[in-house]
Every structure is written in C-alpha cells, then in structure tokens.
Amino acid sequence: MDFLQLGSYTFSSRLILGTGKFSNATVMLEAVRASGAQLVTVALRRFNREQPEDDLLGPLSAIEGITLMPNTSGASTAAEAVRAAHIARELSGSPFIKVEIHPNPQHLMPDPIETYEAARILAKEGFLVMPYITADPVLAKRLEEVGCASVMPLGSAIGSGQGVATAAMIDIIIRESGIPVIVDAGLRSPSEAAHAMEMGCGAVLVNSAVAVAGNPPEMAEAFAEAVAAGRKAFHAGLMPKSGSAIATSPLTAFLGAKE
C-alpha cells in the first residue's frame, strides 16, 4: 500500500481538505466525507454566542478517521503563530499545525522569515509542522532542516484558482526534498491536482475549488479520484519526453512500399 507519511502518522488519502468558504456546515461535512480526506484543516476564531453553529470541532470529530490540522491564519508574526498553535493544540489534541503567516490581505503571500521562525520553534516543541510557503527551494530546504513534517508551497495565490503557476519551482523542491511536498493553494480543477501528483507531490491541499463548486461533495470526489490517478501515474513512471515524433506503428512494409 502507498501511504503518505507525516511524522509518525500514515494516511492512505493524499487529498487534504480545507473547510473554509462552504455555504454551510452540512455541505462542508458532506464534502469532507465524499473527499475521503483524512487530514482536514480548520481555523481558530472567536466564539460568537449568536452563531454557535459555527463550531466545527463537534461535527468534524464525529467523522471517523479524520485528523485535524488547525492553521495559524490571522497571525502576522512568528510569535502570534506560535501562540495560535498552542491554543489550537489544546482544542484539537492533534500535533499537526499548518503554519500560515500572511501579513498582507491583498495578496495573502506567506512571510518567509516569520514562517521559518515559527516553524523552527514549533518543530522543536514537537508539533508536526506543515508550513505554507512560497515555492522557494531554498526556504523549503531550510524548513526541512529545522524538522518540519512537510513543506506546502503555493501553486498560486490563495483562492485565485490559477492552478500550479509555480510548477518549475515545485519541481525543484520535490527533487531536493526528503519530506513530502504538498501543493497548497491556487488549485481550481482536479486535472491540476492530478498534475501536481504526477510531478511527485506527496499530497495536495484543496479548499476553495471544492467549497465554491456548483456541487461541493461531487467536486470533492472528483478531486479524490484525480489525486489517486495522479499518484498512481507518478508511481507507474511517466514516459520520457521527446523533442520529435517517435512512431507507435510500423512505418515500413505497407502496401508494397519499397524497403
């Protein structure tokens, strides 16, 4: 069996699902079930007594086989992210933390310096750190060296649906990495997820593409199938590329052609 290994955890699904932007919790939960995802992201938010139904811990805990990966969204410094991680671990009981530090709401690009610092501290404390980063091979390697469980380079801007615009850099990260590389952010279609998996990604993290689809549970299933197909193709080994045509049918001895 082909498992995704993150720290001491093994997962048979290589699709990680985000829970934001769904029209309601019922649809989100249906999509989580349809996706077969075993690792699911959530965000910390202030309790609002007027909207008790916003709480997702109860309903998500009721789904068997789910491990939560809280994120540090909202943090704009390493110190804030570390604090959020501590609070999140209290609630989730999970060692996973997605370190997400984006100080600028206009483009939501992750701050590499604060992310590195938060990852370093949290990995030392025993968290399974999953940092959301720009597709920078040097940063990815440095994060591996401080003990992160994976690196999660962005395909394109969060929620943009621009696909894997950073493919060339992600290719280098995969080649150099000793830990799973997970494309996080920017995916729009299952074919893009399949492409990321064919490249050798360990997993993909998808949220908006499922959450705002016409039929989120159906799209979740489509992503699950694409991720599995892409992984299988990577495993099988893609044929080499060639600059010119290489015939698949014999070109000689046809209807009296001269040899």
């Binding site: 965000a43 910390l44 202030r46 309790f47 007594r49 709480d55 809280p70 501590h86 209290e90």
Partner: protein
C-alpha cells in the same frame, strides 16, 4: 445580591458575578466547554483547571472555537 465585576470577553465588556470561575463564565454565556479554548490574560486554561480558575476585575478572556478555514 452578589457583587459584579467586569471582564473583557473577546474584546467586549462582560459583567459577571464576583467570584465566578471560568467554568461559570462558560455556563453563563452558553458555550460548550468541550469545544472552546479559553485564554485568560494570555494563559491557556485547560478544562480540568476551569472550575478553580476564578476571574478578576479587568481580566482579558479570549474564547476560541474551530471554524472553517483552509
């Protein structure tokens, strides 16, 4: 009548009977203690410590849940 204190709950003023513990606060505002994290003056209060952690005038309390996020 018991005396009242005022704490800051998620950035808003919240009156509370003097001598209230964190667990009392949860009951008063109707929060399910299992699904919330509580931070009092930057310190996480674990579930087992909530009945014995008494709130003081001016305490800054953050009550956090898991909501949707990617």
């Amino acid at each position: 009548m018991s005396q009242m204190i005022t704490i800051e709950l998620n950035g808003k003023q919240q009156p509370l009977p003097s001598g209230s513990a964190v667990s009392d606060l949860l009951k008063i505002i109707g929060a399910d203690g299992k699904n919330v994290a509580i931070v009092v003056n930057e310190q996480i209060i674990r579930p087992e410590n909530r009945p014995a952690h008494f709130l003081q005038e001016g305490d800054r309390v953050e009550l956090l849940i898991f909501a949707g996020g990617g």
